[in-house]
């Protein structure tokens, strides 16, 4: 069994949070919207604090930052894609191009990274750090978030 097949099979049995009253937002038109990336790749700048194992916090990734490290603790995925082109995980240059051609309104000044390597219980992220990050991006004027998984 390949590594990806094995990991996805593991994911089939992971407990996942469900939401009784899921929210739904109708955003402004994309061409007017400010877009941010939120990733679970544990990306951080080289001068920022590293993610610890089981870290439920988040890091800001400034719009202009390209000195980015993939701080995820799992050995179970390919990292060479990111080493060759950070956009394959964190498509910041793609967003800049979309803003330049008017497809999106603007690129957010700050983006957010969480660590995907979590124990089964993600309660802290759901109830604490997740809402905190959301509030910060909302305060920045973000209209749409693109979530990229690792």
């Amino acid at each position: 069994m390949s590594g990806d097949v094995a990991m996805r099979a593991l994911g089939d049995n992971f407990p996942v949070p469900t939401f009784d009253d899921p929210a739904w937002v109708t955003p402004k038109p994309l061409s007017q919207a400010m877009v941010a990336i939120v990733t679970s790749a544990a990306i951080h700048t080289t001068d920022d604090e590293r993610f610890a194992p089981g870290d439920t916090g988040f890091r800001y990734v400034p719009r202009a930052a390209r000195d980015l490290v993939l701080g995820h603790w799992s050995p179970n995925f390919d990292r060479t894609g990111f080493a060759l082109d950070l956009n394959v995980v964190f498509p910041i240059d793609r967003l800049e191009e979309l803003a330049a051609d008017g497809t999106i309104g603007s690129v957010a000044p700050r983006h957010v990274a969480f660590a995907g390597n979590q124990p089964d219980d993600v309660a802290t992220i759901i109830h604490d750090t997740g809402p905190a990050a959301a509030a910060e991006l909302k305060a920045d004027g973000v209209d749409i978030v693109l979530l990229t998984p690792v």
């Binding site: 590594g3 937002v25 993939l70 603790w73 390919d78 956009n87 793609r94 998984p149």
Partner: protein, 222 residues
Amino acid sequence: MFEKAGIATVTLASTLSVAERMQPPRALWADFPLGRPLGHPRDVEFQHDVLRRAFALLDADVGPVLVHHPDVIESDETPLSCSIPPAFDADASPAAQEIRGLQKAYERSVAARDGVTEVGRSIGPDEIEHAVAVLQSIADGTPWNEAGIPGGNTISLIHDIRSYFEEAAMQLVDGPPPAGRAAEAWFFEETETGKVVMAARQAIKDADGPFPVWFYMAPGHR
């Protein structure tokens, strides 16, 4: 959480069953290699197509919306074809010769990324050779908890060693970007250092070392 805060969300889903059960407001499921949610590195057109499909989900009036990307990108575990430059030091162990042989390529990789490297979680690049020697001693019978594992954490140590090799390898291969996990397969199956890692892992396991200490030294399916 973000949707609840008033921000519309679009999710690139990497595991279909999770997306089906969690039901995020808008999700594009893509059968791409794990670690490559936008599909192909250095393929601007392809990445834009992924984003186009993802942002199109914002046109839905109600959710949850789950759409499948039509392409499948296999994560090919055929080991990378990568020759390690010789180190010309017959007295050094095979692993040490590999590490020395890769040094220039690794340095070029760091330079190409303006100083960025994944190495450094436990050790720096100059400490890789010593770290592998410690792992060899564990493989040869030194109790793992007496061997002096640099940094005291096997997961971060192997991360640094593997990153050194994979970053160097990206400088040595020609052609399009390697498939997902090709470098992983090369490191663990083809290099002497990878074999040392696996031997040390087995030794810790056989000595009833704690599961997290040995299991995460390599991808779980190995």
